[in-house]
């Protein structure tokens, strides 16, 4: 009772359990394997194309960064739902949740413990990918800040997807259903934001057709809806990393208003902030769901 700071008991337990199960090692090995083959693939492609120009163009290896980065994000988006989907439903299936709920630990701490456990695996996954990533960085001439930035992005994405996964795990009975639901929600958010943008675009266009006057700004008006796409800051980050431009540069040329210009300039922190808040909301909802006092049927 001396130190107030205590490691979340669930995280502690999951680490003990996790270290004993082989699942994680397999996942990490699979990930390293996939990344390595990506590198080989890119080297081959760039090798072939550059050989026409005579001599190997190392600068073209810069594409390794978005390719590997996107691969890592994609794998993470599939891996985290699998890891987290059993977090609550698994406890229910195993009938261990009720016991946990008779202890003073709060449902939100349970949820956080589950999230941190998933994040531990995400971090191991990132560490395992360092050697492969390093090749891209050294050969492609990118700065270590970019690698650090990518890791921040991966952590952020892990938290987002993990929160959705834990939420899904708290509302459905079967873990497998939770995995699928998480992925469906993810795709739904991506398609949903695109759809809203498209509807906005169409209505501006219709306005233009009927009145004959709509500025380019009107057309760009719906773009901020993509702030709600959790991948948009990663996209912006990638663009910034390899091309020295950004969503800001792309859009600001249109001379948009002051508010929009701030949004575009700080797209990454704003979007990450929004999405982390949404994650928090998902975690809160998950906590409310497992509270048990909520009507359980």
């Amino acid at each position: 009772m001396k130190n107030r700071f205590k490691i979340n008991p669930i995280l502690k337990k999951e680490m003990v359990v996790g270290s004993r199960s082989m699942k994680m090692s397999w996942a990490i090995m699979a990930v390293s394997g996939i990344l390595t083959s990506m590198v080989v693939f890119v080297l081959l492609i760039t090798g072939v194309t550059s050989s026409y120009g005579g001599g190997y163009n190392y600068q073209s290896l810069v594409v390794l960064f978005p390719v590997l980065g996107c691969t890592e994000c994609g794998l993470l988006s599939l891996m985290v739902p699998v890891i987290t989907s059993g977090s609550i439903s698994g406890e229910r299936e195993r009938q261990t949740l009720d016991i946990m709920l008779t202890t003073p630990i709060s449902p939100f701490s349970i949820v956080l413990g589950k999230l941190w456990s998933a994040m531990m695996i995400v971090m191991m996954y990132m560490i395992a990918s360092i050697p492969v990533m390093a090749i891209a960085f050294i050969l492609g001439g990118l700065s270590w800040w970019n690698l650090l930035g990518l890791f921040v992005m991966l952590l952020y994405l892990g938290i987002y997807v993990g929160s959705v996964g834990i939420f899904c795990s708290s509302i459905v009975k079967k873990s497998i259903a939770a995995t699928i639901l998480t992925i469906v929600i993810g795709i739904g958010i991506i398609i949903g934001t695109a759809l809203i943008y498209y509807i906005g675009y169409i209505s501006v266009n219709a306005y233009y057709m009927s009145t004959g006057n709509a500025s380019i700004n009107d057309y760009l008006g719906p773009i901020p809806v993509f702030l709600f796409n959790p991948y948009s800051p990663i996209f912006d980050f990638m663009v910034r990393a390899i091309s020295n431009s950004s969503i800001y540069d792309i859009v600001v040329s249109a001379n948009s208003g002051a508010l929009f210009s701030v949004i575009y300039r700080f797209w990454i922190p704003i979007s990450m902030g929004i999405n982390l808040l949404i994650s928090y909301g998902f975690l809160k909802m998950a906590a409310a769901r497992i509270n048990g006092k909520v009507k359980r049927r």
Partner: protein
């Protein structure tokens, strides 16, 4: 210690617990009895803070259990009817995990867990993976786990289900020890004779109602107004007390070996028997506290709702009436038949 007042729980429209009132004193071992679906688990979950009540009050040690569920959780240990354990976790780690949920340090948990595992007879299983333990061991481990934070009230939902006789015995010993340690314990069970052995008081529940509760002896004595008295009457089929001369007569007829007469005699015998039966029935039914009279092969079973004194009076009366009582005993009613009777109104009809 535990006071439940007007507790009602609805699942949607379904009334699972209906206006339940219960007082359990400190140090009592309270047996919660009732058929499937009676509402025992529901009540226990509410007490443990796992479910919200629809209405009513629950106080533990004067603390409102429905409002201060955090305080309550430190006072209560719960062993659910069904539960699982984690894979890849050892017994001692399992205890440490739950200890840490109560904010206990590893050292504290280790010290307490040692004692608890000893209590539940699992000291030799400290380094075994919990999912490899037998069912009975898991059950006992769960009891030890429920005690890790030294709760005042222990709530056990059917801790004996699925255990073999040996494991049940061991569980019973564990619970008796805990009772001796001064813990207040609530146990629900279907294994009623065992409850009567270890509980200080019991409550019988059916369809959400508490039908009766009180000390085991009281309940056994009152037994909801339905104890049974078995009465044997000397040679009920043959000898007729009302016609003492007839016996000799019969003998003399027999000597003549007249078939016709024998048949006649048989008929007479039967007639007197059924006449007698009616007479005895009427006489018995006239007695105070007698609710029902039933004839079996060789006994009369009287449903009786009086106490010891009243049954003595009954015996005196029927002897006084000239009935030749050869045996008179009160069925030693165990909880099992009491339970069946109370929860299934008139099962022996």
């Amino acid at each position: 210690m535990l006071v439940i007042e007007n507790l009602t729980k609805r699942y949607g429209k379904f009334l699972a617990v209906d206006n339940l009132n219960l007082h359990i004193e400190k140090g009592e071992i309270f047996g919660f009895v009732g058929p499937n679906g009676a509402g025992k688990t529901t009540t226990m979950k509410i007490v443990c803070g796992l479910l919200d009540a629809t209405s009513g009050n629950v106080t533990i040690d004067g603390v409102d259990a429905l409002k201060n569920s955090d305080d309550i959780k430190r006072k209560v240990g719960y062993v659910p009817d069904f539960f699982g354990v984690y894979d890849n976790l050892k017994t001692m780690e399992y205890m440490e995990f739950f200890g840490s949920m109560y904010g206990m340090s590893k050292e504290d948990v280790d010290e307490i867990a040692d004692g608890l595992l000893e209590l539940v007879n699992l000291s030799d299983k400290k380094d075994v993976f919990v999912d490899t333990l037998s069912r009975g061991m898991k059950q006992r481990l769960c009891v030890a786990r429920a005690l890790i934070h030294n709760p005042d009230l222990l709530v056990l939902d059917e801790p004996n289900s699925g255990l073999d006789p040996r494991a049940r015995f061991e569980m019973k010993e564990v619970l008796k020890n805990l009772g001796a340690m001064g813990k207040t314990i609530i146990i629900s069970s279907h294994i009623l004779p065992e409850l009567s052995e270890m509980c200080t008081s019991i409550g019988i529940m059916d369809k959400g109602h508490l039908i009766t509760s009180g000390h085991v002896d009281e309940i056994m004595n009152e037994s909801g107004g339905n104890s049974k008295i078995h009465i044997r009457i000397a040679d009920m089929h043959g000898t007729e007390k009302s016609q003492p001369d007839k016996t000799e007569m019969t003998d003399s007829i027999d000597l003549e070996a007249d078939d016709n007469a024998a048949a006649k005699q048989e008929k007479l015998k039967e007639d007197t028997y059924s006449r007698d039966k009616d007479r005895i029935q009427t006489l018995l039914m006239e007695q105070p506290n007698v609710t029902k009279v039933k004839f079996t092969e060789d006994e009369i079973i009287v449903s009786f709702n009086g106490d010891e004194k009243a049954s003595a009076t009954l015996l005196k009366n029927i002897i006084g009436l000239g009935i030749n009582v050869s045996a008179f005993y009160k069925e030693k009613e165990d909880l099992e038949s009491l339970f069946l009777e109370i929860t299934d109104g008139g099962a022996d009809e």
